[in-house]
Symmetry: C2
Subunit: 421 residues, 2 copies
């Protein structure tokens, strides 16, 4: 049975003590943006693929037709016309909701922050996949939520692992505020929750009276354009659904949203007003016009093709150079591959050598609140072109193989014979 450790160093300072600190991650990204470095670290969509003339036309039309309103304060729930268009976006994933069911937020991150603010009192337990999106962990920790991870495999979150965690919690007389999950092309693990597991998870949400937060930034970026049913569709009253335009249009406009049962939605709207009064009316109107007048689904298909090709390049190069000593996830969409190093090798300790070899990644520890992830790392294929990705993986492979050889030399008397120069 999983042991639930309620560490005294929980909450606000947990990641500082055990994972990677926010400043460490910032420092990493600062180095990773240097031109000589191939960055497999950031999760930035390839915005250069957007038709910027079309965005300019849309913006000009918005200012011409609705200038004074687009440049004015807005309401806490978000522009009604945009919410209607966001309903269309969700319909593309077979999710049927009404415009009034959602609250527009400053990107998906703000929805996570407001939900944490609403639900997390200091010491409250929050469940999340292990590994989990670093921004979500940051939001939960910021309100001193105590994150307990639930194991995943190639088919996503393992229902039996959730059973063990819930039993351990019950044993400790505790409950969980919610379970946070990214069912489609998870960040960082690069896996999706299978159909059978979706049923199993919903069954458990009912059984354990557990609220689910379903974060779905990558659902439309399945390489085959396939979709499994959203958890929200399966149990609307048990699930808060989070969407965003960051990966299918632009993160620079900061448009995310939350679909939630009425009482939660009302509270989120009030919290949104307290947090920043309202979302930018200008970017809301631009997003509305983009979705209403532009072939946005074609743009999504273009992104999908682009990322599929880059993912193939990464997987191919990984197979060529690391298949004997590493394992990794095989994404069917999204932005990320999750790589496991040879036993005992530490991805955070390896980072300086990687940066020296001009390649960057995010060490696995950043994605756990409990200090796990030493031997794992996240590789992004979303931003650099395929040839750069291949070069980056080759550089990384050399660093890993060198390190493996060094370790072998240090720890194994017979290492010299096994080394391949």
């Amino acid at each position: 049975m999983t042991e639930v450790r309620l560490d005294p160093y929980q909450g606000r300072y947990a990641r500082r003590a055990r994972g990677m600190t926010a400043s460490e991650i910032r420092a990493l990204f600062a180095v990773a943006t240097r031109p000589e470095i191939v960055s497999l670290a950031g999760g930035m969509p390839y915005t250069a693929a957007l038709d910027r003339d079309a965005v300019a036309d849309v913006t000009t039309a918005v200012l011409r037709d609705s200038g004074p309103v687009a440049l004015q304060y807005g309401g806490g729930q978000g522009v009604a016309a945009l919410r209607e268009r966001l309903v269309d976006v969700m319909a593309a994933e077979h999710l049927e909701v009404a415009p009034d069911d959602l609250v527009v937020t400053n990107g998906g991150q703000q929805a996570l922050d407001l939900l944490s603010r609403l639900f997390c009192n200091p010491g409250d337990i929050v469940l999340a996949e292990g590994p989990a999106y670093v921004g979500a962990l940051g939001a939960f920790s910021s309100y001193q939520g105590h994150v307990i991870h639930v194991d995943m495999d190639a088919h996503g979150l393992i229902p039996e692992a959730l059973d063990e965690t819930m039993a351990a919690l019950q044993h400790a007389g505790r409950t969980a505020k919610f379970l946070y999950t990214v069912p489609n092309h998870q960040n960082p693990a690069g896996v999706s929750l299978s159909r059978a597991r979706r049923d199993a998870l919903i069954e458990r949400a009912e059984r354990y009276d557990l609220l689910l937060i379903e974060d779905n930034p990558y659902g439309l970026l399945d390489f085959k354009g396939e979709q499994l049913p959203c958890l929200h569709t399966m149990a609307p009253e048990r699930v808060v659904y989070l969407g965003t335009l960051s990966k299918i249009f632009s993160p620079g406009i900061r448009i995310g949203w939350a679909v939630a049962p009425a009482p939660i939605r009302a509270k989120l709207t009030l919290l949104k007003e307290t947090a920043d009064l309202s979302q930018s009316n200008l970017t809301q109107y631009v997003a509305e016009r983009w979705l209403a007048t532009q072939p946005w689904l074609e743009q999504v298909e273009e992104f999908r093709e682009l990322y599929r090709e880059r993912c193939d390049a990464m997987l191919d190069e990984l197979s060529r150079h690391l298949s004997d000593i590493c394992t990794w996830s095989v994404p069917t969409g999204g932005f990320f591959v999750w790589l496991r190093l040879p036993d005992g090798m530490d991805s955070k300790q390896l980072l300086p050598s990687a940066l020296q070899a001009r390649v960057a990644y995010v060490p696995g520890r950043a994605f756990y609140a409990d200090g796990s992830g030493d031997s794992e790392m996240r590789l992004s294929f979303c931003f650099p072109p395929s040839e750069q990705i291949r070069e980056g993986v080759r550089r990384l492979a050399r660093v890993i193989r060198d390190q493996a050889a060094l370790r072998a030399a240090m720890y194994d008397a017979t290492a010299q014979q096994e080394r391949t120069p």
Copy 2:
């Protein structure tokens, strides 16, 4: 001596119990936007005065020159080029800071929210002028800060009232986390802190080791274009300065900022990243280009003239119809007049009659955390044209005079003789 009451109903639920709830204020604004109503309620700048073609040109240029970056994620502190331009904005108020001294936020409200998050633990005491900006009170209450008001008069916050509060706090063994103040053309009181009082306030900040939060949305909107020194200029290490482009350009782009001593600034940047990753790069680049290429100070002068004329209309009409029974502040800039009703008349109870007479305002209670403000109200002159403002004041005057007459009839046997139809 001021009695410091540490009410058990402090913090999160205080405003619900004693002031106006957020939902009540929302309901008011919903009614106030009906076309037949003259709204003196909202604090919306007159964005129709902006040159929207110029905004469209600026946006087109941004997308042409920096499209992929403007549509991308940004950093937590904000776009460096924008921060350089914001330094120019502050220089127009004789405030000298460096671009690295500031953090860009989602409007000024987010700065208030993040500062509350940084400083307020449940039950912590926060000082604010009485009355104070409703959004600031909301932010402090949201983190269960306990607001104690410090009295104002026509020259702004009264230093001796602060002395009394600090003595009472000391007597109770308590300290205050900070003092929140809007020194220029305060929202809602419509008064400015005099030069002598600025010196006195800074002297007290030193004496009491008190951090000041100086919120300055209206500083450049002095009707004569005059400026008193910013508190931040007088004591940079004691003051967190908040600025915004909402009143001098557009609230729809949601660009605010905080200037803070280095340790606070670093924490605000991290909190900003947790809250929503980053500000919209698109609106940051638009704001940067607006400030860099457009005659933005001329636009500010145009706003200033517009608001001065509207303020004059409001003051003139108030003098014509209410000078015998009401008193009000005489603004030298900004958006607001603060009106005091005849003794015993309640502005919240009066609101339904006012709405029936097709005029809206915000009852004074919304601007106090402690249940004060019954006989006060905020009148905005920023949005409706002068003729509408005059009509609105005439409608309001009729409602107030009717109410005064009714009260006289009810409470005074001689009332019948004094009534003027």
